[in-house]
Symmetry: C2
Subunit: 310 residues, 2 copies
């Protein structure tokens, strides 16, 4: 059974780790959002790809949701002494990823090949596929500051500004990454990880051919909303800003008929409309997965749900 | 008395430090070679400027001749785990300099302004002036590998290849740095530090107007050759490869009538031609200056020699 998972950063990485514990490398590919990528100090930084790779490698910092566990901040501390921008923290070991990626990109290597190479060096054997090898960048139109690059909205302004809309610059021209469509076509089911639909999953779905390909598959989604809140990040706030009550129902509505099955927290059951109940499968379970045991358990449930559909 | 010093890396930095201990910031400017500058991992690295700034700041690593004392190598170690090029070592604190310089260059700041800003942050109050704000790069034509970028010749190949010639790409179009000509014009004397004439001083002299301006000044040079050897680096080897015996006489000949006074080691006295003796001042003294006391002592002797000429 071949699975393609779509993921953003932290939430997506957690489920991807659970799936990777069970599935062989040949049977799992994780397609990762690159809309958050940006350049900082001349370096190309790919936050979601890094979070997924570090999590699969078992070196992610569990406390911060970014960076590498027990990383040091020698360079960053020296940067702050120069008065350099300090809103995006850069660990010393993490920096090596950005430096080597930038070097290889400058040599003309694709982000797909670079990610493959770095995964191997980190001991990650499953495929982590950047959604595209071209430059797509997410911008957030905010009430307070106008249009901001995503990382500024997200990190510098701590997602406090009110969102009016999102813009994925370059998305119409960008081709999906080398193996993305092929992987989706060859997959038996697609898992949409508990990532932010607006800024993590939508960019992937907006790439040429992706939504159409996924529509023909069995698509299972894990709700990124529990009890009206996002586990991490601005999703609940975004739903409210767009006039929706944050709930699994809002997630179902957002994905507009793409999803065949959604996993939700049992307490959120009352939020689901009868229309949704009659058209897709609602599976209630513990979807909060802070530890590896929970991630594996949820991954197993997902694979069981898929298995009975195929 | 206003002094302009011309310097490359380590040797130049040592004498510059001695001069800076005695002269007020208003009375000393150090014009530094940027031909060695290069891009590595997407970062703009200016090795001679860094060596001079770190030495003046009292944070240079005295053992290596590059980098910062007691720096750590967390990022570099992680880079080597990725199989990245490891021929140019990057300390963690040193990296902050390259990152912030690259960021500011990307913002359109000049290398002169950036160096000024970073000097202030490092506590350096004397003017360190990059020779140009434009891109000039030193290339070495070698017998074994053809034309190499300077850092590859120097660091990667440890200056083992045989030099045939040097090329300063961009030198004809480049303007001297913002304050370079003005500083030279306003100086009472020019000190050519004990740096490599071929690859550290010649690029500075080759910039528009520099040689002509210096010719009108009292120019004092400290021999970078002692007892037939360079204190550090490939200079003696270069002289031999070009068919000259490495000696202060070869240095005098190299500078072709530009120098009015040369400081040499007493043991090298026999190497000086009678022609040179009759045309320039030969001052014998201890020119090996490993420690700060020696640097200050030599700087005082230099200032005394200049004072009696003015």
């Amino acid at each position: 059974m071949k699975i393609a998972a779509l993921a953003g950063g932290v939430g997506g990485a957690k489920l991807a780790q659970g799936l990777a514990e069970i599935l062989n490398p040949a049977d799992l590919s994780i397609i990762v959002n690159t809309g958050d990528d940006f350049e900082h100090f001349g370096l190309y930084i790919s936050p979601d790809v890094d979070t997924v790779c570090y999590t699969l490698a078992g070196i992610a910092n569990p406390d911060t949701g970014w960076g590498i566990a027990a990383d040091t901040f020698q360079t960053f501390t020296a940067l702050t002494r120069f008065g350099a921008p300090n809103w995006f923290k850069l660990g010393d070991i993490d920096l090596a990823t950005h430096l080597e990626r930038t070097r290889l990109l400058d040599q003309g290597e694709s982000l797909t090949n670079i990610t493959h190479h770095m995964c191997r060096k980190l001991g990650v054997t499953h495929s982590v596929l950047p959604m595209t090898d071209e430059r797509v960048s997410t911008w957030v139109d905010t009430e307070e500051f106008g249009i901001l690059p995503f990382q500024e909205y997200f990190v510098k302004y701590r997602f406090e500004p009110k969102c009016k809309s999102f813009l994925f610059k370059g998305i119409d021209e960008a081709e999906p990454g080398e193996q993305v469509l092929e992987t989706l076509i060859g997959s038996d089911a697609v898992v949409i990880c508990p990532s932010n639909p607006f800024v993590s999953i939508d960019p992937i779905l907006a790439l040429k051919g992706v939504r159409e390909t996924i529509k023909r598959k069995f698509v299972l989604c894990v709700s990124p909303i529990i009890g009206g809140n996002a586990i991490k990040g601005p999703l609940a706030k975004m739903f409210l800003e767009f006039g929706y009550q944050p709930s699994p129902q809002a997630v179902i509505d957002h994905y507009q008929g793409l999803v065949d099955c959604i996993l939700i927290d049992p307490d959120d059951n009352g939020e689901i409309s009868s229309e949704a109940r009659s058209s897709i499968m609602i599976h209630e379970t513990e979807i909060l997965i802070p530890d590896i045991a929970g991630r594996v358990r949820l991954a197993k449930e997902i694979l069981d749900l898929i298995r009975i559909q195929l």
